[in-house]
């Protein structure tokens, strides 16, 4: 038995070593950049040579996700919204029962530490979301970090704690819908300005294009906001945080009610 284990271990190590040796050229990115990538890297923050194509954001991923291919991201967000609506529809009977009894939760040590770290979680999430156009991260990632808080609170205090404190799924759904409305309004903001001023403008336009010279302000009082990207990130952060919180609350509350019925 021991011999078999040793043989399996050694052959696994050798196989991985062989894979790494063979695939080395593909594992390590080459210095050559493909023409499309080269264009995006040049255009993402470039107010001199590519003035009509830039997104004015030093973070190329956010620029691609919310500017160059923004329509894709809008539909990804709507798919997530529809999945959430389906989940709420599935648990609607359980959620209507108002949870009254609060459980004991974990010990006082864990509850105190949770109370201290709760604002830190929100601060880290907000920092990731609001700096999405400057550093890696963005609205979705920041919102996901904020959504860790209701999960921790549910585990540490009790499943019905949030509902008793007034954080109901209905209110969270309102926040979620407001976030999505904000995303939609940001997408057509420049277009609406163009209609009002009788100038050509596109839906999902951020900076000025060759045939549409309207553009969002890329900085406010010296702070770079990259036009629409900052608004997209902040609305997406609220929408995602509320969305994941709804999913966690619905699942955990449904599970608790189910197990208390079984007893």
């Amino acid at each position: 038995m021991r011999l078999v284990e040793v043989i399996v271990l050694i052959s696994t190590v050798l196989a991985v070593a062989l894979l790494i040796t063979v695939g080395f050229e593909h594992l390590v990115p080459s210095e050559r950049v493909r023409p499309v990538a080269e264009f995006y890297l040049n255009a993402t923050y470039n107010q001199y040579e590519l003035r009509n194509y830039t997104a004015m954001s030093p973070e190329a991923v956010t620029a691609i996700v919310w500017d160059f291919r923004g329509l894709d991201t809008l539909f990804e967000t709507s798919v997530f919204y529809l999945a959430l609506i389906a989940g709420l529809a599935l648990t609607r009977g359980l959620l209507l029962e108002r949870a009254e009894k609060s459980g004991h939760g974990l010990s006082i040590i864990v509850r105190t530490v949770t109370r201290i770290t709760a604002p830190m979680i929100v601060a880290v999430g907000a920092s990731i979301g609001l700096h999405g156009h400057l550093t890696p991260g963005g609205g979705f990632q920041g919102g996901s970090v904020i959504a860790v808080l209701p999960m921790v609170v549910i585990v540490v205090f009790s499943a019905s704690f949030l509902v008793i404190k007034g954080v109901t799924t209905t209110k969270l759904l309102v926040v979620r819908s407001l976030g999505l409305t904000g995303i939609g309004l940001t997408a057509i903001a420049v277009f609406l300005v163009g209609i009002t001023l009788h100038m050509p403008a596109y839906v999902f336009q951020n900076m000025a294009k060759p045939d549409a010279q309207i553009s969002m302000p890329y900085s406010v009082a010296g702070a770079l906001i990259s036009g629409t990207l900052w608004f997209f990130n902040i609305f997406e952060m609220f929408a995602v945080a509320a969305g994941f919180s709804i999913a966690f609350i619905a699942l955990m509350l449904a599970r608790t009610l189910e197990s208390s019925r079984g007893e």
């Binding site: 770290t117 830190m120 540490v156």
Partner: protein, 123 residues
């Protein structure tokens, strides 16, 4: 100034070595200890001695890197905040694990001298 930097680098390196030693001790204990609660104790040695002290050591070393300019104060700030958070969260997490396992009576205390909380779990 140079002597102060040397002292900071030496103290920081000592803390890093202490962290590496504690991580090895923790890994050995995690592998060899007899029951769940002892293994949890070994794991906590790894989180406090093995990550909080090396973090502080790295902060002290980062202060001395003059090439970073003003940013050499940002790095230690972030590191020390991270160390404080680990210092708070790791004991709370292991406490919650041990309490939950003991109350759910999942793991027996074995070998056992005395278990005042739940004598039935002893041995």
């Amino acid at each position: 100034m140079l002597e102060a930097q040397l002292v900071l680098v030496l103290v920081g390196s000592a803390l890093l070595c202490l962290g590496a030693f504690a991580a090895i001790v923790s890994a050995i204990g995690f592998h060899r200890f007899k029951n769940f609660y002892l293994r949890l104790h070994a794991a906590t040695v790894g989180t406090i001695w093995g990550s909080v002290y090396p973090l502080i050591g790295a902060a002290l070393i980062a202060i001395t890197i003059s090439e970073l300019g003003a940013y050499r104060w940002f790095v230690p700030g972030a590191i020390i905040v991270a160390a404080i958070i680990v210092l708070m969260l790791a004991p709370a997490g292991s406490h919650a694990l041990a309490r939950g396992v003991h109350r759910a009576r999942v793991a027996r205390v074995k070998p056992c001298l005395a278990d005042k909380l739940d004598p039935e779990l002893c041995g």
